[in-house]
Symmetry: C2
Subunit: 113 residues, 2 copies
């Protein structure tokens, strides 16, 4: 047997951070481009943008800064606050997973299967 | 912000224990009757029975013992192995929830909201 968990974070009863959403933010951070991040996740630009705006709205925190355009296009990057949340979520996720395994072993020790 | 989690247990990639399934087993244990447990969960007897059989199949462990009938009907109760799994799941669930909160606070401390 093995434990499984789906973990997310809400604010005022609304989903704000989940593996999926944090993956989108991380990809924006890595690529410096919302378009590239959207593509990597198989989302339309419009949908990815809407997702980021929804997180911003539910968190009450700006997540994306867009640089002015130009020949090479503008590009997007995360605000310091967004980068901090992504890091915090990563720490939370890792610790939660380790403890899940630990708690499972402790609770179900000596059980066959 | 607050952490949320959906937790379950698989065996060979198949769902075996979850809050919902353990609640059904617990209700059978408390009422001594699969029919009463099914009713309390808004399930048909057939569906509740199928659910228990599915868990048994996926776990490879018998969960239900049925007493012979008679004027008052037979009744069902959990096998010692099933009762043990229900208890272990309860311990696991409680510890997992406490650690989720602890990990969340540790990871997100000093974050507004």
């Amino acid at each position: 047997m093995e434990p499984r968990a789906k973990i997310w974070i809400e604010r005022d009863g609304r989903l704000v951070l989940s593996d999926y959403r944090v993956r989108l933010l991380r990809l924006i951070d890595e690529s410096g481009s919302l378009a590239d991040a959207a593509k990597a996740m198989g989302l339309s630009y419009r949908r990815a943008w809407g997702k980021v705006k929804e997180i911003e709205r539910n968190l009450g925190v700006p997540l994306l800064e867009s640089a002015a355009g130009g020949p090479g296009g503008g590009g997007s990057h995360l605000t310091p606050e967004a980068r901090r949340l992504v890091d915090q979520y990563g720490n939370f996720r890792t610790a939660a997973e380790a403890d899940l395994t630990r708690n499972f072993r402790k609770s179900f020790e000596d059980t066959p299967g």
